[in-house]
Point group: C2
Chain length 207, copies 2
Amino acid sequence: MDQRFSSQLFERAVDEFSKLPGIGRKTALRLVLHQLRLDVQNVDSLCSALSDLRHNVRYCRVCHNISDSEVCDICANPERDASQICVVENIQDVMAIEATTQFHGLYHVLGGVISPLDGIGPSDLEIQSLVDRVAEGHVGEVILALSSTMEGDTTNFYIYRKLSGFSNLKLTVLARGLSVNDELQYTDEVTLGRSIANRVLFDAGPR
Amino acid sequence: MDQRFSSQLFERAVDEFSKLPGIGRKTALRLVLHQLRLDVQNVDSLCSALSDLRHNVRYCRVCHNISDSEVCDICANPERDASQICVVENIQDVMAIEATTQFHGLYHVLGGVISPLDGIGPSDLEIQSLVDRVAEGHVGEVILALSSTMEGDTTNFYIYRKLSGFSNLKLTVLARGLSVNDELQYTDEVTLGRSIANRVLFDAGPR
């Protein structure tokens, strides 16, 4: 249905809203009508939050998680255990693990997993910066918390090879309480928390 | 789940999005992550569309529909039949009727219906301005296109009384193809179009 409105401003706002993922034309219309009924301050507040986010959000220099400053709150927190690094695919996974409250170390956000079909190789990910962090010598354990997919397993193995030169480094993976092909960010908190608590030594299998 | 993020900017954006109607915390998170991946221009474009809408949208001086100028595109269009006025509850109803392409006259947006329980009386609605438009003498027909609810019927009757003094004025209601308690804006286009085509003379019933 190509609906025409009596206001271009209105039409533009509906168009912009319907570009959002999962928001159709009818929902966009409902959202825009809601904005019209709100106080000007509330609308300004949404706009400035969105604009500030996109213009001012940064990525932590250490772990590559989103941050408001050069180093994120987690990396800057002296109460976190700096000897443990949990390697995750993306920032949603950091949020998912934080929500379990089972992990008190630091993170390392790879920015994806190795996926030759999508043209994503090791150099597109933050793997070298992980090796550099470990090379500084304060890290006792690296926990590989990637999704249990083919790509996740490939990435686990690649990182295992890269880090195998460091003696006294414990390399663990999440307990396979996760069923195969589960996306980490959609796993329930109890299962995810348990798989962090029950993490086991990484086994690269027979070669 | 009271999730904490490593970025205040991020948290604020999620909070603002989850204030929107029908948008929960998980959906807000997904929308904000999507904004982070977009180009800065796209985010700015959404923000400016929203801000322009709220700050600059106006209501037509004549029919009270939303408009970019003092008089809306429909009222200003010389090809529309100015002798017909279709009375509706709100701007969504204008959009719904426009989408049927069955009506070529003008509109009058009441801004609601008479509802004593909600404290909405005739003076809260644009009824006097409708009477003034009819009093100018160019109007041959007023079509009452309110929802077929108790409140809609009450409002129909009130307007009928207000306009009964004008001789040569035809007062019609939408054909009751609409089932009782249907909300006008959610009616399918075919049914709604047919009920405009089959409109009948208003009958106030026995008094």
